[in-house]
């Protein structure tokens, strides 16, 4: 462990900044992770700034210019109602990213709570994990469709559906990390001192499960985007005419041989978003877990 011994003679704050610099260097060394981060940042910027780059709104129908190929005026062409595809992809990106991120965040919070408490209390563990097993047994997309079918298709309910689908995996990952932490002597030492279970769980166990948790969160983000696109494609997600990457694809499906751009552009963005997030997740995993880090070895 290079970082552990480096700079022991410095005072605290210097040491911290040094450690941070080293982490940052390790991160830069991992080229794929940097690529992933850049893609994710660009996509976020794109969906923030994008709407101001075009004069067309995502819902402006122009029947005279249906299915126009990409041109200087309509960068990504137009769809079967003559709506500007660039504007729709940009606005759809906003929906997809916000839905994906909200779902990932909600999944992370609920998964963390379930995972930590079920690792701590044995009886609760049996109950919660059996429920999780039950949820995992259903195919993701099927369960999500069922939930949105009950709740009604709108972005908010899509977030809830994705969260319910993704929480079990998150809870299991946090739980398995927490079970390892729970066996450490310092948890026993805290119990011996009479620390409350709240303190043990949130002050001591939670920070020590954070790395697998963060990594899983980026994956859930990526998977949520796919799931949201899938739901919207099947008509169970963001309802028309509001754009989302999924339902633009659905609209494009009918005219795929006449207007390839309607399928191509949203697909590219979905692919980019998922690829970027997965690369970022892999990078984070390598960074936070020194055992698997190739970069660490090479830096030595």
């Amino acid at each position: 462990m290079e970082i552990n011994t480096k700079g022991v003679e410095h005072i605290g704050s210097e040491l911290k900044s040094e450690k941070f610099k080293l982490l940052f260097r390790r991160f830069l060394f991992n080229k794929l992770a940097v690529v992933g981060t850049v893609i994710v940042i660009l996509l976020c910027l794109f969906s923030i700034v994008g709407p101001f780059m075009t004069k067309y709104g995502p819902l402006d129908i122009d029947p005279m210019n249906r299915l126009q190929p990409p041109s200087a005026d309509h960068w990504f062409g137009t769809d079967n109602f003559g709506r500007d595809l660039f504007s729709r992809v940009v606005h759809g990106g906003r929906v997809s990213l916000v839905v994906g991120f909200s779902a990932a965040l909600l999944t992370a919070i609920i998964g963390m709570i379930i995972g930590l408490y079920s690792s701590y209390y044995r009886i609760l563990d049996h109950v919660l994990m059996r429920i999780c097993d039950g949820l995992i047994a259903f195919p993701d997309i099927l369960l999500a469709i069922a939930i949105t079918a009950i709740l009604g298709p709108n972005p908010f309910n899509v977030v809830i559906a994705i969260t319910i689908v993704k929480v079990p995996a998150m809870a299991r990952i946090v739980r398995s990390a927490a079970l390892v932490v729970k066996e450490q002597t310092y948890i026993e030492a805290l119990k011996a001192q009479g620390a409350s279970s709240w303190r043990i769980i949130w002050v001591h166990m939670a920070p020590n499960t954070i790395s697998p948790f963060l990594v899983q969160m980026t994956y859930v983000f990526a998977l949520s985007i796919i799931l949201e696109a899938g739901l919207s494609f099947l008509g169970a997600g963001v309802p028309a005419p509001n754009p989302s990457w999924g339902n633009i694809l659905y609209d494009g499906k009918a005219v795929i041989f006449r207007a390839w751009w309607m399928t191509l552009f949203p697909s590219i963005f979905i692919t980019l978003a998922v690829l970027g997030l997965n690369l970022l997740g892999d990078g984070l995993r390598d960074l936070l877990d020194p055992h698997t880090s190739k970069a660490n070895k090479k830096l030595k």
């Binding site: 552990n4 605290g12 002597t185 011996a192 001192q193 009479g194 920070p207 020590n208």
Partner: protein
């Protein structure tokens, strides 16, 4: 010899600060469908007293139940049976706030210094936290006192904000000691505090423990498998074998007149510094039996060189031999 006598009388005259009576910890072994098929008798009827400002050593092979004994006293492991009387109350029956109060008075020092500190917590905060849990002082006072305690165990003030991985094993053990002291305990259970350390560091930590005992008027329960360490630390010693206490005596008395065959064998295994002096080694045969189905009668009879028929059938009880020297063996009835 005279000193030993005096020490013995001293022991008898003071009332114990903690009395442990008939302590048992049996782990059920479950078979198919969760039915109990048997019991693993980790601790089986251990009795001892702790006296104020004295150190009791607890020795025995690994797996004989020494650590479990220490852990049950703090209720880290729930005992199956028994009593532990502290300040007129049975620790094993306490709940909530009363148990919390006990956990302030009785602290523990752990074996492995690498996992006994939270790697994500600054060491100073670990000590402050102990005071926070027990509501000792204001925030400022806590930090002040934590620094003071760290200084006492030999950790510099500017190391207050460091993380555990920046310290060596010996230093970490010192931090663990400071953390135990932060609660102002009366009794400290030292569970193999030096066995994970280098020999050169061991002596430093042992001497630190001795100094601290004097400064803070502590009572120690010192658990170890290292006889020479226990001899140096303890005022009196209990010898454990397979979950039972087989002999209990003041340190000098035990080392000069070991009565139980197991103790005799243990003591003969201590290497002598002088290679020319030869001692008769008592080598006990066989392995330590499984605590799942311990031998009938005296647990040691399977390996005892003096074993008789009676030993196989009847379990010996602790009997007083001389003042403060107790032994559970039919040879000394």
């Amino acid at each position: 010899m005279l000193e030993t006598r005096m020490e013995q009388e001293q022991l008898q005259s003071t009332t114990p600060i903690l009395r442990v009576k008939n302590l048992k910890k049996h782990y059920p072994i479950t078979g198919l469908f969760g039915r109990a098929v048997g019991h693993l008798k980790a601790v089986d009827g251990v009795e001892f007293d702790l006296y104020e400002k004295k150190t009791m050593g607890l020795v025995g092979e690994s797996g004989c139940g020494k650590s479990t004994t220490g852990r049950t006293i703090l209720r880290l492991v729930e005992p199956t049976e028994g009593e532990a009387i502290y300040k007129g109350k049975d620790i094993f029956k306490l709940k909530g706030k009363d148990l919390q109060a006990i956990r302030k008075d009785i602290q523990m020092i752990f074996q492995d210094p690498h996992s006994s500190l939270n790697p994500k917590q600054r060491i100073g905060h670990a000590i402050v936290e102990t005071m926070k849990i027990h509501r000792i002082g204001s925030h400022k006072e806590r930090i002040e006192r934590a620094k003071e305690l760290l200084l006492k165990v030999g950790i510099r003030e500017d190391q207050f904000d460091r993380y555990p991985h920046e310290f060596s094993g010996g230093q970490r053990q010192r931090i663990g000691i400071a953390r135990a002291l932060a609660a102002n305990p009366k009794i400290v259970i030292c569970d193999e505090p030096v066995s994970a350390l280098d020999v050169s560091i061991q002596s430093q930590v042992i001497n630190l423990l001795k100094d601290i005992q004097e400064n803070f008027n502590l009572t120690y329960l010192f658990i170890s498998h290292d006889l020479s360490v226990v001899r140096y630390m303890s005022d009196y010693i209990g010898v454990m074998y397979l979950g039972q206490l087989v002999e209990k005596a003041p340190t000098d008395e035990l080392f000069s007149h070991p009565l139980h065959p197991y103790t005799q064998a243990l003591l003969s295994a201590i290497p002598l510094p002088n290679p020319k002096r030869k001692r008769e080694r008592i080598i006990i045969k066989g392995d330590i039996p499984s605590p799942i189905n311990p031998p009938s009668g005296c647990v040691f009879h399977t390996r005892c060189p003096y074993s008789t028929k009676r030993c196989e059938q009847e379990r010996p009880v602790m009997k007083k031999q001389t003042t403060d020297h107790f032994v559970a063996c039919h040879l000394h009835d």
